[in-house]
Each structure stands twice: as C-alpha cells, then as structure tokens.
Amino acid sequence: MAGAAFYDLEGTLVSTNLVHTLGFYAKRQTTLLQSFTKSATTFLSLPVFAVTDQYSRKVFNDLYFKRYKGQSEDRLRYFAQDLFDDVIKPAVFPGTYELIEKSRSLGLRQVVITGALDLSVKPLMEHLGITEFVTNRLEFVNGVATGRLLPPVMAAATKASWIRTYSEREGISLSDSYAYTDSMSDLPMLSVVGHPAAANPDMRLRQTALHHDWPILDLK
C-alpha cells in the first residue's frame, strides 16, 4: 500500500499566514479610501486574531473570514497571481523544495491540506508541482463573498478526518504516511499518520513534539 505526505501550508511550507493574504487584498480595494479603511481595520484586528487563534481555530475562522464579506469574486481571483508573485512565492521556505523533492522521490503522494483560500493557494501548488490539495472556500452569492466558508472547513480535527477519508478512498497506508505542520491546532493531523513531524513549530507544538519524540524540522 502506498503512503502519502500531508502538509499544512502556512507557517509550514511558507512563512506567510492568512493575515498576509487579507492584508494584500485590503490594500487593493476599488478606491483609495476603501483601501485605507480596510487596511486599518485589518491592522487593528491583529490582536483579536492572535487571541482567538490561541483560543480556538473555529472562532478565529468565523471572525477572520467575515473580513471578506462584500468582496467581489472576480477581484479576488484577478489579484491571486499578483498575491502569489509578490507575497507568497518569496515566502516559500528554502527547505520546502528539498522536503517535497525527497518525499516525492520516495513515491509518496504529495497532498496539501490548508485553511487558506483556494484562490490564493492554487498558483503556489502549480509552482510546487502539487496537484492534490484541499483548501477552504469562500461562499459567494451573486459573485460577492458572504464572509462564510463552504463546508467542510479545514481546521484542526477536520484535517485529520479529511486525511482518513482520503486515505481510505485512495488506498493510502496511514502507517506509511508523513504529516508536517507548524501549529498545535493541527495536532489531530499529526496523530493519524505513522510519521508525524513538526516543521518550524510554535512553542506548544515544539513541546508536544519533544514529548512524543517526533522529529522537529526547521525549513527556514
């Protein structure tokens, strides 16, 4: 039975996080005033995002994706390539390419599971040569974002659940699979595979990784 390598994305393979994406779009509104207002609101929300992320990824998602309410789908997609070129591509960790290359050479299927938005992730996946990825998706009504996510929302236990379902469907051996993440919120994802690893971990995940004797990678 084949194995796979499951990666979280932001903080794990790239140094950007969800807020970078939000900030990028905030700066590119239709008018200067709107750009200023959106940017200022995003900036002022940072402490709230930080606190809620520590408390619960679900609460964080609810708050965070509301910031996209009213954004046009066309606009978000139009700037996606610029977002990749200007923000995401320079933020790919040097070790990311090596890790994926080595992993691919072993015949492992490369799968990215991220809470980021599909429109921002797609160019990066093309750049990394990864064809299998699952992301969060904004709900659009009449081409305008509602500020809600379409289910399933990729976060915490949902990622682990998705990996199980995917592996069952594709005949992947979880015992022979690898998972990489930087965040404690992805602990369930690490727990379902045979070869978990913490990549550029936060303090809580580092302690957990030490406790469980998991490898700790620094891809920076």
């Binding site: 090596e98 890790l99 080595k102 690898y178 690893a197 490898p215 990678l217 620094d218």
Partner: protein, 532 residues
C-alpha cells in the same frame, strides 16, 4: 603468578592486591570509587608521549618533506582550484584546547596557498553522515582568522544528501560504489587535514568515508564487515579498513590528494583533572583532595549541569607527529606513532571485562550519551580496543558501568529515538535491521531535512552504531549494566542489569566461575590492548 611479579609486567598493567586503593570509574557524568576484587588486572593508558616542542615547525617540515610526492608549495600554481577537507568535531575527545591542531594546519596551508596565488580555495568539513558542525564549533575549530575569511561560502560542512554536490567517481570490482563531494573531486588538488585519535582514523577513510554519500557508506558500514574485523582498531586485521583501502585506490586514480596526518598524545586532562588517568595507588594527598572536591561539586549539580561542565573542559592533547604526502606512506607512519602511544602489552585474556562508560564519545560532543551510544562505546569501542585477539575470552562477561538513562538529544539524534524505541524491541539482529529498516530511515524525508538543514545525524546513523557493536555482541556471552537506573534500557539492548559493581561481579562470577580472571579498563582510556 605471584602478585608482586604480576605488578612488574608493564607500567600500565596493575594488579589489585590487599593494599590497593579503590579505583575511580567513570559512569556517565559521574565518577565513582570502587574496591575491586584482589587479583583484578587494571589496564591504564600509557603515559602521554612528550609533545613536539614547536608544532608549527613540525607541520611546515611535513609539508616541505612529504612522502611519495612533491612538497605542497611545488604543487601550487596561480589560478588552480584547491579544496581543503578537514576532519570533523567527532575527534579528538573531548574537543582540544584552542588553538586546535587543525587551526594551525589550516592557517599555515592557507597562507601558503595565498602566497602562491591560489585564490579558489574551499574548506570542507568531512563530516560524512555525522551531524553538521554548528557555526560556533566551526569557528572554534578553525580559529577566527580562517572562519572570518572563508565562512560561510568557502568554509562549510559536507552534505551527503545534496545530489548536485556529489559525483560518482567509480566502483570497486566488488561493486562498492564511491560517490564523493563534487567540489573535492573536481579540484586540481585536494588537501586533507587529518587528526588521528584512534587507529581506525585517517588513511583512505578520510576521503573515501568523510566525503562520501549514504550509498557509498552502506557498502562497508554493514554487520558482516564488522563481524569480519578483528578488530577494527587493528588496521591490518580490519575488513572495514580493507574495504576502505579498495575505495582509496579509486580516490587516488581520480584525485590528486595531498594528505596531512597528525598524531596526538593521550593527555586528555590538564593538571586540575589529570588524577583521573593516574594509578590510584600513586595518588598524592592533593590528588585525593581534587577528586573529592570534584565529586562533591558534581554531586550537587543536576545531570545536565554535570554534562555541561565535563564538556566545557578542553583536552590538553599535544602533537606528537605530523606527516604529509601520499595517503598510504603517511598513514603508515602515523599509525606506527599512534601505536607507540596506544599499545599496552597484555598477556592472557580475561573472563570478565569491566569498563566504566564515560560521558564522551565521538557522537555526543556537546550532547547526551544516549542508550545506543552507551552500547557503541561498550561493545564497539571499548571491546574493540585490542590487537591480535580480544581482551575478553569468547563467551566472557562484559560489565559496563553507566546509569543507562533513557535520554536522547532531539536535535542531534532524532532517528536514534525511533530506532531505539520502535526497532530494537522488535529485533536486535543487525542483519534484519539492515535489510528491513535501514533504507527507510536513511530516506525518511524528516531525517534527511534535519541532517541537511539542522545538526542531526543522518537517519541511517543509528544503524551504523548498532553494527559497530556487532563483533562485540557476537563475542561476549553476557553484558551486565552495573549502576543502571532503570531496567528497560538494558533490557532493550539485550543486557542484564545490576544495582552496582559488586552485584555485577557476583552475577558474572556465577556465570564464569569464582576463579574467573577479571580485567578492568581504567577509563577514560585511549589505548589498545596489545595481546600476546
């Protein structure tokens, strides 16, 4: 043999009698005092050979009077491409007081290169699958002048996993491939700076092992080769050495190597701690006071602090020989000089061999001596420190004194943890481990990344550590871990445990008989039992 006569066999061979003082034994980060049974033979390292009075002059003389080739200066031309490869921090042990001998050689060689218009110079640490040295360690080893001038673009660690940085230069008729560092292979001249600490160091091992990749290494780092090495500290009878020499011939065919080898004495400690390698019967009151003061201080410190303290004491090794030129004649001379320092003539094998395991090994510099490394020091290094025949009889008992704590360094030894906890409980058979798991670990992307971008030993390294103990494991009848603070670590290693040395000796005697000959290696001992 009467006890008085026994005492006179050699100054490094002492027999315990009724009046003998208790002996000091290292046990991890501790030093314990033990009364040994009367008649026990204790082997000490030979006294240090006097160091050369002017090591710079000795090095310059070697460079200008090489064996088998032109002097270094005569081989230099402006614009040529030169690579200097240098031994890593795994030797000597503990790391020597600065300036390191390698620093002195590098400064002399680099000055000579600059003086001859050679600017394209890279310095590569020949760490093979060992962990990469940290920036601080590299600066300490090469000195600030070399470090500031060459680091990081022209002074770096070898990367055995960087495919573009490697090149296959050949294969022996035994189908052993040799892939080495591309920069070294494509240079007009490769200068190797070696520091010889034990007899298996140096020679063709320097380039063919120090700069190779995993596939090349696994051709000879295997259990069968180790079984056929009797011992691997005796180059003439080491199958490992024979295989490496075969690879060395390929190196000599493809590369112009100028080998600089050095031999050092065994002055491990300065005057503050030199009592640790003295005969306890000759202790002065001041020696006893120093030992008690050290023991008292250590007893008040937690284990990590004791470890830190021991690792921060630089060794006082001195240069006793330096030769340069072609690999074979240079190595022959250095090995001969080394054996002058190491060889302790010993008559008669022992039924029971006692050895304390100190907190130093080539693989835990500034780190923890984890259970696998305790194993490699016991059944690998300490068992193999012999020439002609093993110090211990076939089927004899080896008593090792170490706490055997279940503690690993996550940064340096990540794959060791999985090897110890996942594989060893399943099997201790080195051949099964090699066939079933070695390549899985070697190719584990996490371990590869930790080796390449961090300071971790390669994923396959714990396997080599296990193979390293293979001839010892096949030879001994039983290993008893005295002073082990838990049962599961000795259990996983396949050893028995005892609370203390007295209990361990009683257990060993119940196995080997009450008249069993007991020998103790007085550690730390850089020496080889030269068996008659």
């Amino acid at each position: 043999m009467a006890l008085q006569l026994r005492k006179k066999t050699h100054e490094s061979v002492i027999y315990i009698d009724r009046d003998s003082a208790p002996r000091i034994m290292p046990s991890g980060e501790d030093f314990i005092l033990e009364d040994l049974p009367i008649g026990t033979r204790v082997l000490y390292p030979n006294p240090p050979i006097k160091g050369l009075p002017n090591r710079e002059a000795a090095i310059r003389y070697a460079l200008n009077h090489p064996h088998g080739c032109d002097p270094l200066f005569a081989q230099l031309e402006p614009g040529m491409r030169v690579t200097i490869a240098v031994d890593d921090i795994s030797l000597p042990l503990p790391p020597m007081a600065t300036p390191d001998i390698r620093q002195t050689i590098l400064e002399i060689v680099c000055d000579m290169l600059a003086g001859h218009g050679v600017d394209d110079v890279h310095i590569i640490i020949a760490n093979s699958l060992h962990r990469k040295m940290t920036e601080w360690e590299m600066k300490r080893m090469a000195g600030p002048r070399i470090f500031d001038e060459y680091y990081p673009d022209r002074y770096y660690n070898h990367d055995a996993e960087w495919k573009d940085g490697l090149i296959k230069i050949g294969e022996t008729k035994h189908k052993e491939p040799l892939t080495i560092n591309r920069r070294a292979a494509e240079s007009d001249l490769l200068i190797y700076v070696n520091l010889n600490f034990v007899p298996m160091d140096g020679g063709h091992k320097s380039v063919a092992v120090g700069l190779c990749d995993y596939e090349s290494l696994r051709a000879h780092h295997d259990p069968q080769t180790i079984r056929e090495s009797d011992s691997y500290m005796d180059p003439a009878r080491s199958e490992l050495n024979h295989k490496v020499c075969r690879l060395g011939k390929i190196v000599d065919e493809h590369l112009n190597v100028f080998h600089i080898e050095t031999a050092i004495n065994n002055r491990m400690y300065g005057s503050d701690m030199d009592f640790l390698i003295k005969n306890e019967d000759d202790f002065t009151a001041f020696d006893r006071m120093k030992f008690e003061a050290m023991r008292y201080t250590m007893s008040k410190l937690p284990r990590p602090a004791r470890r830190k303290l021991l690792h921060s004491r630089p060794a006082q090794y001195e240069l006793i020989a330096c030769h340069a030129g072609k690999t074979d004649p240079v190595h022959e001379k250095i090995i001969a000089k080394g054996f002058e320092q190491y060889a302790v003539p010993v008559r008669g094998q022992a039924d029971i061999l006692i050895t304390g395991i100190p907190d130093i090994s080539p693989y835990n510099v500034y780190s923890i001596l984890n259970p696998l490394l305790v194993q490699v020091m016991a059944l690998g290094y300490h068992f193999n420190f012999y020439r002609n025949k093993p110090l211990l009889k076939k089927g004899g008992v080896m008593i090792v004194h170490h706490p055997c704590y279940d503690d690993f360094d996550h940064q340096f030894h990540p794959s060791y943890i999985e090897f110890f906890n996942r594989l060893l409980p399943e099997t201790r058979d080195a051949f099964v481990l090699r066939e079933k798991y070695e390549q899985e670990f070697a190719n584990n992307p996490s371990y590869v990344e930790m080796y390449r971008r961090g300071n971790a030993y390669h994923g396959a390294h714990p396997f080599f550590m296990w193979y390293w103990g293979e001839n010892g494991r096949q030879h001994v009848g039983k290993v008893i871990a005295a002073g082990a603070e838990n049962a599961h670590v000795p259990g996983i290693l396949g050893w028995e445990r005892a609370d203390n040395l007295t209990e361990a000796i009683a257990m060993a005697r119940s196995y080997m008989g009450n008249s069993a000959e007991i020998t103790m290696l007085h550690q730390p001992m850089i020496g080889v039992a030269d068996m008659e």
